[in-house]
Amino acid sequence: MSRRIIKDKVAKIVVCLFSGLTVIPLAAIIWELVKKGYHQINWDFFTKVAPNTLDAMLAQRSGQIIPGGIANGITGTLIMVVMAALLAVPCGLFAGVYLSEKPHTGFSKAVSFLTDLLQGVPSIILGIIAYAWVVKPMGSYSAIAGSIALFIMMLPLIVRSTEETMKMLPSNLKESALALGSSYRSVILKVLLPSSFGGLFTGILLAISRVMGETAPLMFTALGSMQVNWDVTAPTNAIPLLIWQFYNDPNLVGMIWASSLFIMILILILNITASRVARKWKIR
């Protein structure tokens, strides 16, 4: 009897202990980023482009912080994520609506299967694909190529979240809208999509936060650039890509912490907003 109770207690302690241990990496990572990165964050960090390696070396020799910032990464990430989202959001919403409206046809089952498949494709392969589809035909690395890779990554995420959210809507909602004589189009656009706004918006935010930190699909599509670049047909940088370049340059390696801290904060804000929205707009 008492042995059973002791075993039970031990099990509970083990569960709590190991659960607690998983918190450590998060705390350790955030702590390291803040500790090593905060002094690099200033106004220039957001408004100046990445320094060249010589300037960085000279500054560090004389004991100063590395001059310059990640403006080229910030603008590049912005351009590519926005372009990817502009493609993925309408396509994803519509495909998700299609799947939730006609779930049982062979076509839908095929689409659903392939959505799962796409969701599991490693992001580096999306880089290869965007290279083959965009970089090679255009003859140049570009923001377009990067955003195509990110688009393919976002698409299945939005399709799934849309489908799941739409399936949670009460079925009489659609009927009651149709009973008022409205067209199929306005039932979807004016009733069903707005009613599931919370879930859809959360899904979109999470998809954006997933692709924002991606490096692998951009390495041989967007490539990187040392200037702020608004030309979507030219090579463009992104924050994660810059981190990779800093990491590989002994003189610039001091920049990695502040850059990582910044992208982490962005992703954190997106994640927290997403869960807030999800809670606030829960379908009742």
Binding site: R4, A28, C91, P122, I124, Y247
Partner: protein, 292 residues
């Protein structure tokens, strides 16, 4: 006006259809591009020879490429990650889905694991490089702390949140009346977990780990930064190596000709590997979902 709205409805339905068809188009295009891209390598070496030999020699004139060392590197790191992930993700799943189900502390832990899942791969790589690697090095495991073990450890941390949140859902699905039945006969919590919850949720939890494995197989940046990037067959846990993803990340940018084709072929193999693992995971999961 009404007939105009019927026409608009038709167009709208077609738009929905086109969006869904786009998924098929992209998937088909992907398989097509990977296959045609790897044609050069497969026609030179043959599919089986390419897949099951380990040469990686880019010297012009005696170029010879094989995928085996990278396939082994991929499988080794991923399975190390999976093994290391289980003792942490299972307790987290039990914590959120069973022991403290629905409490504030459970939702806090849920948020923490969500945030862990949101950390970019490259940041995990930096942390692994600057914090973990020196520790591994001081323990004398691996060259300068690089290798399968270091990469596998960071990979484990990366897949814990995914495995934990998926398997936690299956614990939550275990019906309360079953558990109450066991409690009413005097069972302790541990006994309920062992004899009711685990058997009930077991298949789903297994599927969660299969999907977590699928994630680990394709992870790129963190592994690239920690595995040591050598091209031979890894000989043990402390050995350096390369995974399929990491060799592509390292060499695709400067590659052309036969080497490029070989890298795309590696991409195709990685695609197939992850697709198969993911499909197995999803298939099991669908079975479970139908039953519950």
């Amino acid at each position: 006006m009404k007939s105009a709205s019927i026409v608009k409805d038709k167009i709208f339905r077609q738009l929905l259809f086109v969006a869904a068809a786009l998924i098929i188009l992209i998937s088909a295009g992907m398989i097509y591009s990977l296959t045609t891209g790897s044609f050069g390598a497969f026609s030179k070496f043959g599919f089986f020879k390419f897949t099951f030999t380990s040469a990686w020699n880019p010297t012009a004139g005696s170029e010879n490429y094989g995928a085996l060392s990278f396939i082994i590197g991929t499988l080794l790191t991923s399975f190390v990650a999976l093994l290391l992930c289980i003792p942490f993700s299972l307790p987290v799943a039990l914590f959120t889905g069973e022991y403290f189900k629905g409490t504030k502390i459970a939702s806090f832990l849920g948020t923490v694991t969500d945030l862990l899942a949101g950390i970019p791969s490259i940041v995990y790589g930096l942390w692994g490089f600057y914090t973990l690697r020196p520790i591994v090095q001081s323990l004398g495991l691996g060259e300068n702390g690089f290798g399968i073990l270091t990469a596998g450890f960071v990979l484990a941390i990366m897949i814990i949140p995914y495995a934990a949140s998926l398997s936690g859902e299956f614990f939550k699905l275990v019906p309360d009346d079953l558990k109450e039945g066991a409690y009413s006969m005097g069972a302790t919590r541990l006994e309920v977990v062992r004899h009711i919850s685990l058997p009930m949720a077991g298949t789903g939890i297994f599927a969660s780990y299969v999907l977590a494995l699928g994630r680990a197989l394709g992870e790129t940046m963190a592994v690239t930064m920690l595995i040591g990037n050598t091209n031979g067959i890894p000989f043990g846990l402390t050995s350096t190596g390369n995974t399929m993803a990491s060799i592509i990340a390292n060499q695709f940018g400067e590659a052309d000709g036969l080497k490029l084709s070989s890298l795309i072929a590696l991409g195709l193999l990685l695609f197939l590997l992850t697709a198969i693992i993911n499909l197995i995971g999803r298939l099991i999961m669908k079975r479970v979902a139908v039953k519950v």
